[in-house]
Every structure is written in C-alpha cells, then in structure tokens.
Symmetry: C2
Subunit: 261 residues, 2 copies
C-alpha cells in the first residue's frame, strides 16, 4: 500500500537536465551547472545510476560514466516515464517583474505548479527597468531557476522563460492571437465591475490558458482598461496576498477547478 514518501521520494534517482538526450548508447557531457550538482552537491561517482531528462518531456535511465573535476559524462539508456505528468492545460504565466529576489521565488513556484511558459513583464508600477533586467542577465538566471525547479518537482519539461517585455505591448498582441482557452487577469476585488471570482470559472479544462498577474503596487487604471478588452478579470478572495505568493495561489486555484489536483 505504501509506495513511497510524501513530498520527497527517497527511492528516485537523482535527475539531471541534458538537453540533447535522446536514448540508448549516447555518452553526453553534462553542463557545468549539472556537473557541479552531480559531483559537489550529490557527490556521485562513476557507476552511479541516475536519470536524465531533455527538458521537452523525455526522461531516460543513465549511468555516470566519468565524474571528473573538469568533465562529467553520462551514458544514456532506456527511456523512462517521467515521475510527474505534465498538466493537461498549458498555462502561460504573464508575471509583472517583482522587486529583489521575489521574482526568483515566483519562477520556482510556477514551474513546480506546472506552467508551460513564463512571460516576465514591465508594468506601469513595476519598480524595475527593462534595461536593468537585460544588464543583469535576469532571463538566463530565471531559466536556470526553472531548470532547477523542474529537477526538484519531477517534471521532464522545462518551461521557457521568455524575454522580459513591456506590459503595454501585451493587450495588442493578445488581440492578434487566437488562444484556445481563457486569458485571465488577476485584479483586486472592486477593481472593475466585470471581474468574476475564480471559483466561478468554467470547470471544463481548456487546451491552453494565460494568467496575468501584476506587481507589488497593482495595476494602473489604464492597464486594467486596456487589458479588460481582451481578457477576463478574475478575483481571488478578500485577503491581501503578498505579490510573491499570488502566482502559486492563483495557479493552485485554477488547477483545482480544472481537476489537475
């Protein structure tokens, strides 16, 4: 009856992200980050059984072939079923960039929850400039966090972290798209008379969905007005959620409605 531990399954082999993995007989060098994780953090050695995943949904048995200081090689074997199924609804999270390291937490949580992609956006009240994000190589940093979170939560798919953009471009872009599913914008209760409570959404899971979440200081009236033309404003209870906790709460609510949970 008891097949493993809750939260952290001790029986599962360590998992590594190997973008080119495609199966039987390949000998592949790990990236520097993955190699360090294998040798320094987990202290694995030659012959250790591991798993590798390609970030696109495929996972394989593998064995450490060489665990050197400058090079780590794995021999890729048979394909495995990834430990965590992908969500049936492909959710793109459009998240206003938050201050300090809080955006890192949102990326980590959203990947754990099962999003398909994350679009960081600069809104009217975002306190970070696009140029500062570019200069700080934040997109690359967030992509690494997405890889690390996928490893931890058992996903074999690494969601893409898109290049940060100005939020004001999004309503027009949405107008041109035909997304097979709802575009939801999270707003404070009372922000607009058109907002619906998230529990009242259609229970039938759509093929895809987009979820748009604002920054610490909220949306500007102009943003709500422009975006409400192309999306459904939704609310999430009456308590004030911390900006860095809003995505995990909203994604949990949506995945409950759509029966992922």
């Amino acid at each position: 009856m008891f097949t493993g531990s809750h939260i952290y399954n001790r029986a599962v082999n360590a998992r590594f992200y190997v973008p080119g993995a495609s199966g039987g007989g390949q000998i592949i060098a790990l990236s520097e980050d993955e190699a360090q994780h294998l040798t320094r953090v987990l202290r694995l050695t030659e012959g250790s059984p591991v798993s590798v995943f390609d970030g696109r949904g495929h996972e394989f048995q593998a064995v450490v072939e060489k665990a050197g200081k400058t090079e780590v090689l794995v021999a890729v074997g048979q394909q495995l079923k990834p430990p965590a199924a992908e969500a049936r609804v492909g959710v793109t999270l459009v998240q206003a960039v938050l201050k300090g390291d809080k955006m890192d937490d949102v990326i980590r949580d959203a990947v754990m929850m099962g999003v398909s992609a994350i679009q960081p956006a600069i809104t009217a009240r975002t306190e970070v400039k696009l140029s500062a994000l570019v200069k700080g190589h934040r997109q690359e940093r967030w992509q690494k966090i997405a890889i690390s979170s996928a490893k931890q939560c058992g996903r074999a798919t690494v969601p893409e972290i898109l290049a940060p953009c100005e939020f004001e471009l999004i309503p027009a872009a949405l107008g041109d798209m035909a997304l097979p599913g709802p575009v939801l914008m999270l707003v404070e209760p009372g922000a607009t008379i058109m907002a619906v409570a998230i529990h009242a959404l259609e229970a039938a899971p759509p093929g895809q969905a987009m979820l748009i979440i604002g920054p610490e200081g909220g949306w500007s009236p102009e943003e709500i007005e422009a975006t409400a033309m192309v999306c459904l404003p939704v609310t999430l209870g009456t308590r004030t959620l911390r900006a860095d906790a809003t995505a995990i709460v909203a994604l949990s609510a949506l995945f409950t409605i759509w029966r992922e949970f």
Copy 2:
C-alpha cells in the same frame, strides 16, 4: 470603477495589533514590537491616523497620541469593518515542523490564506526535536509571525499557534472529537488506496475542517495507517511539491472548492 490597487492597497492606513482594543476613547500603549514598527519602520508621528485590531476580529480607527522612543500610545476611535473578511470555513492546519526557517514561511502563508489555527507537530520523520522547539521559544516566534502576517493581509483575527506536540497523539485526540467537518490528511499519490484527489471533495463548505500535512521526508507507513482510521487521505496532483509550499497549495485548493476564492 477602479477603487484601489491590486495586492497592496496604498490607501489603507497602517494597521497595528492591539489585543485589548475595544473602542471609543481608549488610550492604549503598543507592545514593543508594534511600537518599533510604528516609529522605526513606518516613521509615523503624533497625529498620524492608523487602524488597530484586537486579533479577535475587531478593527478600529485610531490616532497616534504619542510616538516616543520608549512609549507609543494610540487613541482608539470608532469600530471599522476589517479590510479582509474571515474565511467561512474555520481551517485548523496540523503541520509537521519543517527544517530551518521553512516553518516560518508556512506559518506566514497559512495565516495569509486564512486559517483559524495552526498545530505544529513532530512526526516520525520530522528532523527537529520537541525539546529544541521549546528551548528555542519557537511557539512565541511563530505567534509573532502570525501577527505580522495578519497585519499584512488585512485580517483582524490572529490565528492561534498551538504548542507543538507529538503527532502520534493526534489520531487518538481526533477519535475523541466531533469536528463539524472533514479531517483531511495530505498524502502522496499511491500512499494508500483510500486517497481521493482534492478536487473530488464535497463542494458544500463545512463549518470547520482540519488539514494535516507531513514533513520533508513524508509520512511513515504507521502514521498513514493510524491516521487513515480517523481522517480522509487526499492527494494534490502528481508533481512533487516542496514541503514548505504544500500548505499554501492545499489551502488554495480547498478554498477554491469551498468558494472562498
């Protein structure tokens, strides 16, 4: 149409926790923590309008009467409607104590979500001893975190953080109680054949509920067996959730089902 900002409402006065507040004409001294928050963090001065709440659901207008280095006094005025309504379902969270500061995050998040009380528990695989929690005054620390989170999320009720206990006492205690609502134990998919997916729970909101969440290493088979006699094992999707994120995800799911969101 636009009545305020999402996430953080700039228009709301700073809120302070004043356990004895009961209304009109009282002059009350703030606790040391609250006094420091008022003078050092927010730099408020004599005459500043604030709100005070008693932790039991009552909130009042108030004015800073004295903002001294050693004493801060507020004059309590008219009763206000608290900015955030309490959840209709009174949820008690039984949470296995997590390592390091992770329990702090769970307390903060659970209070923001709207729980009624939190019972920290030492399970078979908890890596912290009860004696260490007592020695470290952790219950007092967690209660302070609960106050701070209630201030931030607009609640006028401060959930009680109960004294940490050994988890093995809980199944018997539950057997003796008649809780007007479900007792839910979060387990890994496959942990027991009796587990149901959380989205399949009864949608009618109960009066109360208890939610039981394990530690990083999961439940022991004995714990699942003993607790399954007195509660309903529930699962939450197939991705592995970080132990410190499990409570916020499960509470979001429950509050969606029960239409708080």
